[in-house]
Symmetry: C2
DNA sequence: CACCCTCATGTTTACGCAAACATCACACCA
DNA sequence: TGGTGTGATGTTTGCGTAAACATGAGGGTG
């Protein structure tokens, strides 16, 4: 900076003012400084800047994996929105979804240059790990029921599941079977609860749950079980990938979709439209979730206030070719 | 820090030594300092640290999208490896895959606190945008042929494609049709070139290429074309998602896979094993790519030397149920 | 014409940390 | 007993920036 100042024939403070767009610099001076900057290839040192300003203009994102559609799409939206607000985002991967893993991530977090954190994971893991957020670090949580303690942004899981189950009942199915996700997952539990509620409200029998782990393979295994149930004509899968596995199992067992069995997924990943048959599923707006996260976090950072509460992003049912009225028994 | 020093009854320098694990601090002193730190909730200010040390211990990752399996898996591996080396990673999304978008990302990069950058995208876009990397920032590029100018880490696209095509020829197919990715993609071009080479070397006819855009939908459209070609018995798709679309098109047109037509993909995404039928595909080791990127970049950062050259990560063919010998014509 | 105000610019200082150097106590040896 | 070395700890300093304050030139007003 001093070099630039010398070359431009001004003080370093003026250089600082130019690089921050301060108004009270006369146009001719500004141009000289800009010129000198370019000539010397000057770029401000962000560490010094952060030190002086007391903020990093960076958001940390803590998550287990980018391998799920939901996570990677959410992170992408977070990154885009943050960039627009002039914030960078730092990824803090949690090596393993265990207390130790989480603890490790938070330890690293303590030394990281972030003004706030977005946590994309089950909060009960946070609780279990007995964590304390570094003071001054704000937080927003995704995919959680901790709305009473933290600001939470999430897809409206319950409503999405309700739409899926109602859609199947409306088509005339007697009841709906369910392939759920892992028990540790809040989304998974929420979808299952909504499925159960709709059936109960409608006075329908609630069949036993098939448990998967979000993977297509686990869906396949669940599908083999369901294919063996002659009374099963409608299946609601907690995500699209498990639905893919279910479709394969039904196909292999010779049960035609949607003529004999209807299948609904959740997420609306791009591939779902190309499944055999194209999958009816619940569309999640991950981009909106990401956007809301950043907005919520920046609000907190600017106002220095933590306001618990849950923001729900709505879902829509996308009807494709995997659902139809049940076969007529006589 | 001064507060901690006061409480522990030592100098601030000793606090610094403790927080950096410097050896020459006596155990009793260390414990006192640690105690004081905990009591006061002290955590080192990473901005000041970076300022003093002249390095940020952060790696930037520039990419267009996390929506593709390859990118998100690579980023995940980069993040994991970087964390292990004590580096954080900062995501720098490029809003749009245009010159302006790239230029914008690099402008932001100039102000970011990173010691090096991993660029996951087509380098010709970099060239086109006439970019200069900020001095002192090292770079590693993924998915590119710029091995003469930058260090490049990439999957061995050509070998993977060769394995796929040979597999089909070995099964007895007369020739192999190809669904390629977008023309701007280096990976896509490389796979297509290898496909062509193998056919030419084997003296087989080279059918016209069907061009897709990586999406399952584009694969579906290409598949409709191919389904109408009676002579087409083997299809090599440049990625798994397009293969998914091709499978759907063939199914809808009543062409059975693999009895009448064989299909091979590329990537080996987890879902590929659950397609109808389970897809034979080329497995990419994204995790290894990510690891090598970080290693290469840290090497550069530590030695301050840029060494162009390409590191190729090998691929393996995973044979599943979508390939078989061609139907016998008589 | 003297006063004061405004605005561009310069000077000083501190942000929090750690390298470099300084100091001091103690042990060991001749 | 004095000298010397070693290792623990303290003191000084500067990293690059921007806020706060200081300066000084010009312009307007009574």
């Amino acid at each position: 900076m001093a070099d630039v100042a010398r070359l431009a024939g001004v003080s370093s403070q003026t250089v600082s003012r130019v690089s921050n767009g301060h108004p009270s610099v006369v146009e001719s001076t500004r141009r000289q400084v800009l010129n000198a900057m370019q000539q010397l290839g000057y770029r401000p040192n962000s560490a010094a800047r952060a030190l002086k300003r007391g903020e990093f203009r960076t958001i940390g994102v803590i998550l287990f994996t980018l391998a799920t559609t939901g996570n990677s799409r959410t992170v992408e939206a977070i990154a885009a929105q943050a960039a627009q607000e002039g914030y960078a985002i730092t990824l803090i991967p949690v090596a393993m979804p265990t207390q130790d893993g989480v603890l490790g991530a938070f330890t690293r977090l303590g030394e990281l240059a972030v003004d706030g954190v977005i946590v994309i994971m089950e909060v009960h893991l946070l609780d279990a790990a007995n964590l304390t957020l570094p003071p001054g670090v704000q937080v927003v949580v995704v995919d959680s029921d901790a709305g009473d303690r933290y600001p939470v942004v999430d897809t409206d899981q319950a409503d999405g599941a309700r739409q899926a189950v109602r859609h199947l009942l409306d088509l005339g199915h007697e009841t709906v079977w369910h392939v759920t996700g892992p028990a540790e997952s809040f989304s998974s539990e929420r979808r299952a609860a909504a499925w159960r509620d709709v059936l109960t409200e409608a006075g329908r029998p609630v069949p036993p749950v098939q448990r998967g782990d979000w993977s297509a393979l686990s869906g396949y295994e669940a599908g083999l079980q369901l294919a063996a149930e002659p009374s099963c004509t409608a299946i609601f899968c907690a995500n699209d990938q498990m639905a893919l596995g279910v479709l394969r199992a039904l196909h292999e067992r010779g049960r035609r979709v949607p003529d004999e069995v209807s299948v609904v997924g959740f997420d609306d990943i791009p591939d779902a439209a190309s499944y055999l048959p194209p999958l009816t599923t619940v569309h999640q707006d991950f981009a909106e979730v990401g956007r809301r996260c950043v907005q919520g976090l920046l609000d907190q950072i600017r106002r220095h206030s933590l306001e618990p509460g849950t923001v729900l992003v709505p879902t829509t049912l996308v009807a494709r070719a995997s659902t139809a009225p049940p076969p007529v028994f006589q």
